[in-house]
């Protein structure tokens, strides 16, 4: 079963060599977080309160920004046709592509999040909460986004359409991600309740999204 590691390695190399999409996502993340104090005012208490929400929204948008080419590049250069001819099921190929994409673009966001959290007056426990929820929640964002990327694979400049399709589906991730991150630094809700639901959403996305995305790719490939 060397096909899937080979696919992971290929996706990782392409992501690292083409324009550094991971670095681009982090810079976009930084920009979004940096402009919020200009909009809401530099009040430390306010920033400390809404910080987890800002970090989560910025991470969501940065993830979506990087996702639109997930399958389109393969469709354009013919790789997608060849994936259909391989013995490896398309669902597994989708899963591995998502994993490589998350490693190349999602992980850098998570590593950058505590530093950006300092800009938003976050305490230590809040930083831990944000990093933990992003670590668990961003794979779900990538997997849900993969459905949108697959559904818009034949649409030229489909990035905006993909965001419109995917953003409503990411609302549960956002709700439980932000509430767990806020619960980490105190509050009435215990941290584990929303965090467990966030884990459940990610596991469900892991189980369902590859099938949905592969079905969309099969249908559109014909």
């Amino acid at each position: 079963m060397s096909a899937l590691p080979a696919l992971f390695l290929r996706e990782w190399r392409v992501a690292r060599r083409i324009g550094g999409s991971g670095a681009m996502g982090v810079v976009f993340f930084l920009t979004l977080v940096a402009i919020v104090p200009f909009a809401v005012g530099p009040d430390p208490n306010l920033l400390a309160r809404i910080g987890p929400a800002i970090l989560w929204i910025a991470a969501l948008l940065a993830t979506l920004l990087c996702l639109d080419r997930l399958f389109q590049a393969d469709a354009e250069d013919g790789s997608l046709d060849l994936f259909h001819l391989a013995e490896t099921p398309l669902e597994l190929a989708v899963l591995v592509k998502c994993a490589a994409h998350w490693a190349a673009t999602g992980l850098p966001l998570i590593l950058a999040a505590p530093f950006l959290g300092l800009m938003l007056q976050q305490e230590r426990m809040a930083l831990v909460g944000v990093v933990a929820t992003l670590l668990v929640g961003t794979p779900a964002l990538t997997l849900i986004g993969a459905i949108g990327a697959a559904a818009t694979v034949t649409v030229r400049r489909g990035g905006l359409l993909m965001a419109l399709l995917v953003l409503p589906l990411t609302i549960p991730v956002l709700i439980f991600g932000v509430s767990a991150a806020e619960a980490a630094s105190g509050g009435t809700v215990p941290f584990y309740a929303p965090f467990a639901i966030l884990c459940a959403i990610t596991l469900a996305a892991l189980a369902l999204c590859p099938f949905a995305a592969a079905a969309a790719l099969r249908y559109l490939g014909e």
């Binding site: 096909a3 080979a6 290929r10 190399r13 392409v14 013919g78 046709d81 060849l82 001819l85 490939g221």
Partner: protein, 220 residues
């Protein structure tokens, strides 16, 4: 997908045979292929000719399982019983599945590992395949800096690193110079000699003397 792939009893001599009966394929509501029938034995090549829009590419995509058949059947008889037809076929078209950011060697190594899951003695190593198509000296160059002809030769090398009996070639000679065409003709003859089947859609002579031909009509 309404594919109707049958697996009949293998022929007595154990050789592979591709049989296409009354194949109909529609694209965009238009019947592009109307009841095409032909059969091909191991070691044979078939050249598909016809004017633009006659359905050459459609035929190859349908054989590769990339388009649903509206009617008729496609059967590859005599191969391993548990492997479906698309998994025994190489499909080579205009877009070749090569990532321009990766080197020639990395691209080929990926397709070798992705398309050839069971080792076959007829598969070549990446180095040997690159030597056959004459790209050995630029194996470490990214695909993006190659000329159109060199890219096409890299794509042809993909057919050699992962042995699959059925080659479906859509305009394989595009952008190739004369020397490369002759080298590729040799590779095709060797593929036929080792029990392979070739179906090629082309406007130009392939350099295979013994190939039979199928002429698709114009737009009906």
């Amino acid at each position: 997908m309404s594919r109707d792939v049958q697996f009949d009893e293998p022929p007595a001599d154990g050789a592979m045979r591709l049989r296409v009966d009354d194949l109909c394929v529609t694209r965009g509501g238009r019947l592009v292929l109307d009841r095409q029938s032909f059969s091909l034995c191991a070691g044979q090549a078939l050249v598909v000719t016809g004017p633009n829009g006659a359905g050459k590419s459609t035929l190859l995509r349908a054989l590769a399982g990339l388009l649903p058949c509206a009617g008729g059947s496609i059967a590859l008889v005599g191969g391993p019983p548990d492997v479906e037809l698309p998994q025994q076929a190489h499909y080579l078209a205009h877009s070749d599945g090569m990532k321009s950011a990766l080197t020639v060697e990395e691209n080929l190594d990926f397709w070798l590992r992705y398309l050839a899951q069971k080792p076959d003695p007829r598969s070549r190593t990446v180095d040997a395949a690159l030597a056959i198509v004459g790209l050995g000296h630029i194996a470490a160059a990214p695909i993006g800096v190659l000329s159109a002809g060199q890219k096409r030769r890299a794509a042809l090398a993909r057919l050699l690193v992962a042995f699959r009996p059925l080659w479906l070639l859509d305009e394989p000679l595009t952008a190739l110079d004369r020397t490369s065409r002759e080298k590729f003709a040799v590779a095709m003859r060797e593929h036929c000699a080792s029990g392979g089947l070739i179906i090629a859609a082309t406007h130009e002579p392939l350099g295979l003397d013994e190939a039979s031909s199928l002429a698709l009509g114009g737009a009906s």
